[in-house]
């Protein structure tokens, strides 16, 4: 489980301890294993109810991105947000894989901070999100 880049935030709290990560990730892994056996695209729904939160996960090959939200959020919107995030990562790292995320965790955090702040969406436009990071890279190079 430590190999997968699972980071998720919920209103500013980071669920980073393995204990709280365990259950939802195990659910996700179980579901994906089951679906790969069945060769079905979406055998399971991506929504899991966990305590009084809802978890929405999305699988990209070996990478799972899990987002925890409260009851009042629009789940499909969050689903799309996850995809947006991955697209941004894709643009920055050019064809992102989970290794990219692992070894550049600070950059990923910067991107995440540009997109989501304290649980709310800040910006969804790819170029605008990456502008500060590109500027930073230029500063570091020069």
């Amino acid at each position: 489980m430590t190999g997968n880049g699972v980071t998720y935030r919920n209103h500013g709290e980071n669920y980073n301890s393995p204990l709280s990560v365990c259950l939802p990730v195990s659910v996700c892994l179980y579901r994906s294993a089951y679906s790969s056996v069945c060769h079905a695209v979406s055998v399971h729904s991506v929504f899991v109810e966990y305590k009084d939160f809802k978890l929405i996960y999305r699988q990209y090959a070996a990478l799972y991105i899990v987002v925890g939200v409260t009851d009042s959020e629009n789940e499909l919107s969050v689903y799309e947000l996850v995809h947006n995030f991955v697209e941004v990562l894709d643009k920055y790292f050019s064809r992102v894989s989970e290794l990219d995320i692992m070894f550049n965790l600070d950059r990923v955090h910067i991107i995440l901070d540009e997109m989501i702040q304290n649980g709310h969406i800040v910006e969804t436009n790819r170029s605008r999100i990456l502008a500060p990071l590109n500027a930073l890279d230029k500063m570091a190079d020069s």
Binding site: T2, N16, P18, S45, D113, Q117, N118, N125, A135, L136
Partner: protein, 830 residues
């Protein structure tokens, strides 16, 4: 000490560790190195060290020793160090840590930094973990940034303001004007932040909500720009421009339009347009549609729009994508209370979702199916639910079982069906049912007296099949004990006859007693059942004696006590055995809803423990009744009268002792002079419905008003009021006005005239049609607009107040009378 490795090396090292132990070793070594590095004051690799520490923290290892380092790095002038410092602060610090106070000053300085990226760092950190004091200190700064800066900062400042408002509610006032002005920005990020800020302000403070209702037209305009016109390449996601902003605006509109007609009207058009125009082939489109549907259902929308919304949900239900079905069911759950029929139409699809493979979908489908059970579809629904129960995941079993029980209890078409259903549930999921199921089922069985034979046969067979389900075994033992003679006799029309001998029965009970699967409670049931059989069967009483005496030395104290006492019954008190062990009487259902019937010897000053204390009221006996003298009867007389007036309603409540208000309960029934009450009502008495008796309700100054009722339909009543004048002078402009309780509808026909000639030569008749669709019986459902609330539930749902006004001898008179009993009505409803 090993030299510190760069971050990437460390990550590789950790990932290549093959066991947990190895990994821990690597991490401990690294942490030691990091700690040493922190102790050395200034070196170039500080940011790398902290980054490593954060990685370690993410894996779950303790990293609190890095907090002070974060504080130091935040204060550093170099951007890379600041960046990692702030990230560390967000991850390692929260308001409970003391170190968080130390960064307040740094944040304050950075908020006015010249570099916008530094400002944004500070804003981000403040938004994530700012404590209440920090927020209070820095709120004016944030406000300044909200107004005058570039859009990059504005959007972050807006979200920071959201956090501040959450932490310190009073500061909401500070941000309201800024939030309002931000709505006119073009930049989507800023707009987004503004909408979130306004949403937060409105949720926290209802007055702010009122103020922001005026922004509904602006919001509608923005939405139109997004949804309908134009393609904006910047924020396009699969053909829909900025769906995230659309969703947020819709949510704000929902909050603004709730419970407010005006705002809802302003939104109707827009919602209809969005609902029809949004492309629903992609998930994005569905997300926007979903939010639209939620908004429509929550505000006071017009019915056409509501139908559209429910139809969209219906379309979602038929979608192939499981996720969409899931959210459709979630939203249907919210409206199943209010738009029940609309949801019923999709019952088939919902029941099919019970068979879905996904656990979340199943859970939703179960909730919704249970909500959709009604008297008409109970049989088919129950079949599906029982099927579901046999294959459902274990975490849903308990919920399903209790849901099935509730539904069966409410809508059972017959007792036999009810018993069958409960038995089925007990056999499939007996381990997951609640404890009170057993007594409930027993009570149900005793009530169904004609089904005793059938029940006991079925239970016996179930017992033979499986003795692991405790609840089932308990019920089975109890029934065999009670009705063992029926079992042995073997005759039962409804089941194929099977010969059961007394030995078989005793064998079964003994198996239960000796099985290791039986719980102590179950053993107790079995032992008692065995004992009861000693009076029901004839041949094997000795065997029973031996069984019982064995358990006299059982380890379980409860069983031992029972066995010893039963033994005593055999030995010393054999003469009492038959009496002690005879059939149990029918158990009364002791539900809180049923108010026990009081004896007619009511005690007026009794402090009663009424379940409905809200209906306690007091008479103001003199207030309204000066127009006619009332006999103050004792309660017992009153209750007799109530009996006379047409059978006892099941809720007879004696008067409460409320501050010693009234000694007795005068009835507002018609009476002209004292003492006639009983005679009057005696005339109304027994069962044959007197054809529309006329009852005088008002008599004063020579004007008499009489009342007669006729029942038209199940809830309708026609009341005829006849007025006559016995004075010597004519009465003109005679009008009657009537008022009834809110739950009753009133329709007054045209009076026959308004002139009452002297000495009763002619009458004026007024017909009033009353419709009582609710036929409410409980007292509190009727807000009675009179000073004195009737405490007697007799016909409490129907009262009428009549205002009489007329002119006589040149002067105007007005009077009011209250009618509480409608004699024809009461006799008619029974």
């Amino acid at each position: 000490m090993s030299p510190s490795v760069p971050l990437q090396e460390m990550i590789r090292a950790i990932r290549s560790a093959r066991t947990q132990c190895e990994e821990r070793g690597v991490i401990q070594r690294e942490c030691a190195a990091i700690r040493a590095q922190f102790r050395q004051s200034d070196n170039g690799g500080r940011s790398h060290n902290l980054a490593k520490l954060l990685y370690v923290h993410m894996l779950g290892y303790p990293a609190h020793f890095g907090q002070m380092e974060c504080v130091r790095m935040i204060a550093s002038p170099r951007y890379s160090e600041k960046r990692v410092g702030y990230l560390g602060a967000m991850m390692l610090l929260d308001e409970k840590q003391d170190a968080s106070l130390l960064i307040t000053n740094s944040i304050k300085n950075d908020l006015s930094h010249s570099n916008q990226y530094v400002q944004s760092l500070a804003l981000c950190t403040l938004a994530c973990m700012g404590s209440a004091e920090m927020c209070r200190d820095l709120a004016p700064e944030i406000d300044r940034l909200l107004r005058a800066s570039n859009s990059y900062i504005k959007k972050k400042a807006a979200l920071c303001a959201v956090h501040i408002v959450r932490k310190v509610q009073d500061l909401g006032e500070l941000f309201t004007p800024a939030a309002r002005s931000l709505l006119s920005e073009k930049n989507h990020g800023v707009l987004h932040g503004a909408v979130v800020l306004i949403t937060e302000l409105c949720e926290k403070n209802p007055e702010t909500l009122e103020r922001f209702r005026k922004t509904v037209p602006d919001l509608v305009q923005i939405m139109k720009g997004l949804a309908i016109s134009g393609y904006s390449p910047e924020h396009d996601v699969a053909g829909i421009s900025d769906p995230f902003l659309q969703v947020r605006i819709l949510r704000l509109l929902r909050i603004l339009g709730r419970n407010n007609e005006q705002a809802s009207d302003a939104m109707n058009d827009l919602l209809a347009q969005v609902a029809t125009n949004t492309d629903s082939t992609k998930t994005v489109g569905n997300a926007v549609l979903y939010e639209t549907v939620l908004t429509v259902l929550d505000i006071k929308s017009e019915s056409g729009l509501r139908v559209l919304a429910v139809n969209i949900l219906g379309r979602f239900l038929l979608n192939n994508d499981r996720n969409i079905r899931y959210i459709a069911m979630t939203s249907l759950q919210k409206i199943v209370g209010s738009d029940h029929n609309a949801v019923q139409r999709h019952r088939g699809t919902i029941v099919d979702c019970l068979k879905d493979q996904d656990a979340s979908v199943k859970r939703r489908a179960l909730d919704l199916s249970l909500a959709l059970v009604s008297a008409t579809n109970i049989r088919s629904m129950m079949k599906e639910l029982l099927l579901f129960l046999s294959s459902c995941p274990p975490e849903l079993r308990a919920q399903a079982a209790s849901g099935i029980f509730n539904a069966a209890e409410r809508y059972a078409p017959s007792q036999r069906w009810h018993i069958d259903t409960i038995l089925h549930v007990l056999t499939t999921a007996g381990g997951d049912v609640r404890d009170e199921t057993v007594p409930n089922l027993i009570q149900l069985i005793t009530n169904a007296s004609e089904l005793h034979c059938y029940t006991v046969h079925k239970l016996y067979r179930a017992l033979l099949a499986d003795i692991s389900q405790q609840s089932l075994v308990q019920v089975a033992c109890w029934c065999i004990g009670e009705y063992g003679d029926l079992l042995v006799r073997g005759e039962c029309q409804e089941i194929e006859p099977v010969q059961v001998t007394e030995d078989d029965v005793l064998d079964a009970l003994e198996t239960v007693l000796q099985s290791h699967m039986s719980s102590p409670a179950t053993r107790g049931f079995a032992l008692t059942a065995t004992m009861k059989l000693s009076t029901r069967i004839t041949d094997n009483v000795d065997r029973i004696r031996s069984i019982v005496s064995i358990y006299g030395s059982c380890i379980d104290v409860e069983l031992q006590q029972r066995a010893v006492e039963y033994n005593a019954l055999f030995k010393k008190y054999d003469h009492m055995r038959a009496a002690v062990l005879e059939r149990m009487p029918v158990i009364e259902k002791n539900s809180p809803r049923v108010i026990p019937m009081e004896s007619p010897q009511g005690r007026p000053s009794r402090t009663s423990s009424q379940p409905k204390s809200s209906t306690e009221s007091h008479w103001c006996p003199n207030h309204l009744l000066t127009s006619f003298s009332l006999p103050v009867c004792g309660v017992s007389q009153v209750c007799d009268l109530l009996d006379l007036l047409g059978g006892s309603e099941e809720t007879l409540q004696p008067s409460p002792a409320v501050g010693g208000s009234a000694p007795g309960l005068p009835i507002h029934t018609a009476s002209t002079a004292g003492g006639d009450l009983l005679d009057l009502l005696g005339g109304l008495e027994p069962a044959p419905i007197a054809p529309a008796p006329t009852v005088p309700v008002y008599e004063k100054e020579g004007v008499t008003l009489t009342l007669s009722c006729e029942k038209q339909s199940d809830s309708g009543l026609t009341v005829t009021l006849t007025a006559s004048n016995s004075t010597d002078s004519d009465i003109s402009s005679f009008t009657l006005q009537a008022a009834v309780p809110k739950s009753v509808q009133l329709h007054m026909k045209a009076p026959s005239g308004d002139f009452l000639p002297a000495r009763g030569t002619a009458n004026v008749t007024q017909m009033v049609v009353l419709n009582n669709p609710n036929k409410v019986v409980s007292v509190e459902a009727v807000p009675i607009r009179t000073a004195s609330k009737s405490f007697f539930p007799l016909q409490v749902n129907l009262k009428m107040r009549i205002r009489i006004s007329y002119t006589s001898q040149g002067s105007a008179f007005q009077d009011t009378v209250q009618i509480d009993s409608f004699p024809g009505f009461s006799a008619a409803i029974h």
